[in-house]
């Protein structure tokens, strides 16, 4: 049945390409989570009326975030080529896609984290201060747990955008399902391969969305 639907799909290769996409998405997502969380916290804490209110640092981070969020991803990959070469040692392959994926997406996630943190009731932070809590305690025991649903749902949205970016990166040499759809499928006129790659990406996206929704539902006690 599958062979009849997708006559040109070689299963080992399809599996390999899917794994490349999962690898790029997974590894960069870990970095994006850490960097985005850090930047999001800094954006929140240094904003007006907050614990580390600092206009200069806030403006600085906000500008960097906005700039990297605005550069179209294809252009960002090209711009980052020298940097990629420097830290990864090559400009082709899944690893070479990571710097661009992380730098292109972390600022987007940082903004989502910041929005999540802003939604925390100021009174709760005040209550923690009134108990004599240090800023680090407030971050770990108030800010992060109270914004966890937003942090997770933001990560879900980011991960889905990321899958899309890996496909773009794939077309210009990073491998993965994007590469599979374009090189093996489109350029060799094997439409069933393109179609198969599309379905695989959709399935990855649906699984990420379902997983994200499930976790948010589990942890949200509001």
């Amino acid at each position: 049945m599958l062979n009849w639907l997708f006559p040109n799909v070689v299963w080992e290769r399809a599996w390999e390409k899917t794994n490349e996409t999962l690898y790029m998405t997974g590894v960069s997502l870990i970095f994006i989570f850490l960097i985005g969380l850090g930047l999001g916290l800094l954006l929140f804490l240094t904003s007006k009326g907050n614990l580390w209110e600092n206009r200069l640092i806030n403006t600085l981070i906000a500008s960097v975030v906005n700039i990297f969020r605005s550069i179209p991803f294809v252009i960002l990959i090209v711009l980052l080529l020298p940097f990629t070469k420097l830290i990864i040692g090559k400009i082709i392959g899944e690893e070479a896609a990571l710097p661009a994926l992380i730098i292109g997406t972390a600022p987007f996630y940082a903004r989502m984290v910041e929005i999540g943190l802003r939604e925390i009731d100021k009174g709760v932070i005040e209550a923690a201060k009134a108990m004599g809590a240090k800023t680090s305690t407030i971050i770990w025991k108030v800010l992060l747990p109270e914004s966890m649903p937003a942090i997770i749902s933001g990560l879900t949205v980011t991960a889905i955008a990321l899958v899309g970016y890996t496909a773009i990166a794939g077309v210009i040499g990073a491998g993965g399902l994007g590469d599979y759809a374009y090189l093996d499928g489109f350029s060799r006129n094997k439409n069933d391969v393109t179609f198969f790659a599309t379905i695989s990406i959709l399935m990855i996206v649906f699984i990420i969305q379902a997983l994200g929704d499930y976790i948010v539902k589990k942890i949200d006690k509001r």
Partner: protein, 341 residues
């Protein structure tokens, strides 16, 4: 034990400086419940936040437990805050923690070992009457229950002072009373000093020993609650006192009576403490030739005695009315003849 000296707080806003607290001085005794009443915007929220250093005064000094909060280091301020509990109008519980974990939070901040924490949380849950709700999340609790969690949390580190920021303003009257009873019980049982701000005179009347009335950042009147009830001096204080001693439609009813009986006189008697228990009316009716008609009356209990109001309509000949009023003035009551308002 807590003194506030000439404290002023000025906020810089876009439209210019705003004086939230204006040269306030107060002294609060150990073990008392001290109320600050005022309408919103009077500066009472800013004032109460200075007792634990959440707001720093622009000028003036605040001394709590012998420490000058305006001078101590940040780390010492945090230590001091662990000796000061605070409860809030909107409870400010962490939704991500259940009742037990919420109450445990200040103990974690104070680095109490886990075993001890559990024991203390159990005690507190019993104290505030939340047995059986330990594993519930705030979203599953009623307003009154949430405030009980707030109180338990505020008491976790055995504070010497409890700050109540409009703690009952988001609750219905019945729940308000149960929370006030709990606060009164804690005050008596633990000898805890309580400072509370509110806009409800009912709260002051029910549990406070002393009260300060705040308007435009200034304390315009202060003293023992019964004194303030007996003879409110400022117009704003009179308004607050009327909140609990007079029904809203009293003035209307009196106006109608004045129109209906232009011959008679309407007097208001104010009873305080002992006098509230004397049979004055009975004596008046026996002695006087005038007809005495009771229009409306009420009595409210403060912590230090009863306070009541009685409206009488006195009809009869001019001299009989004067005689009756003279008699009343001779008794231990305050008499006020009401004219058309």
């Amino acid at each position: 034990m807590i003194t506030v000296q000439n404290v002023t707080k000025i906020f810089q806003t876009k439209t210019g400086p705003v004086t939230a607290v204006d040269n306030v001085s107060l002294e609060i005794q150990e073990g008392e419940i001290f109320g600050v009443i005022g309408y919103s915007g009077a500066g009472k929220s800013t004032l109460i936040r200075m007792f634990n250093g959440l707001e720093k005064p622009t000028t003036g000094r605040i001394n709590v437990f012998g420490k000058d909060l305006t001078k101590i280091k940040e780390s010492e301020l945090r230590k001091t805050r662990q000796e000061i509990g605070m409860i809030f109008q909107h409870f400010n519980l962490l939704w991500s923690r259940n009742v037990r974990e919420n109450i445990s939070f200040p103990l974690e901040v104070a680095k109490v070992p886990k075993e001890e924490r559990k024991k203390r949380v159990d005690e507190l849950i019993r104290l505030v009457g939340l047995e059986g709700k330990e594993e519930n999340y705030p979203s599953q609790l009623s307003g009154g229950q949430k405030q009980r969690v707030g109180i338990a949390r505020a008491l976790a580190n055995n504070p010497k002072l409890l700050l109540c920021d409009e703690a009952t303003s988001a609750l219905d009257p019945e729940t308000t009373d149960s929370i006030l009873d709990l606060l009164m019980e804690i005050n008596q049982k633990l000898g805890l000093t309580i400072i509370m701000i509110t806009h409800e005179m009912h709260v002051i009347r029910k549990i406070c020993h002393r009260v300060a009335v705040m308007e435009d950042g200034k304390i315009v009147e202060s003293g023992p609650v019964l004194e303030v009830f007996k003879s409110p001096k400022q117009p704003i204080t009179k308004r607050f006192v009327r909140q609990v001693t007079e029904k809203e439609d009293t003035q209307e009813a009196i106006n109608q009576l004045l129109e209906k009986y232009p011959s008679g006189k309407i007097v208001r008697l104010s009873f305080i403490g002992e006098a509230a228990e004397q049979p004055i009316i009975s004596k008046l009716i026996k002695q006087s030739q005038a007809t005495i008609n009771i229009i409306q009356g009420n009595i409210s209990q403060t912590r230090l005695g009863a306070y009541g109001n009685l409206y009488l309509h006195i009809k009869g000949k001019e001299e009989e009315i004067c005689e009756a009023i003279r008699f009343l003035k001779g008794e231990q009551v305050e008499v006020e003849v009401i004219e058309h308002a």
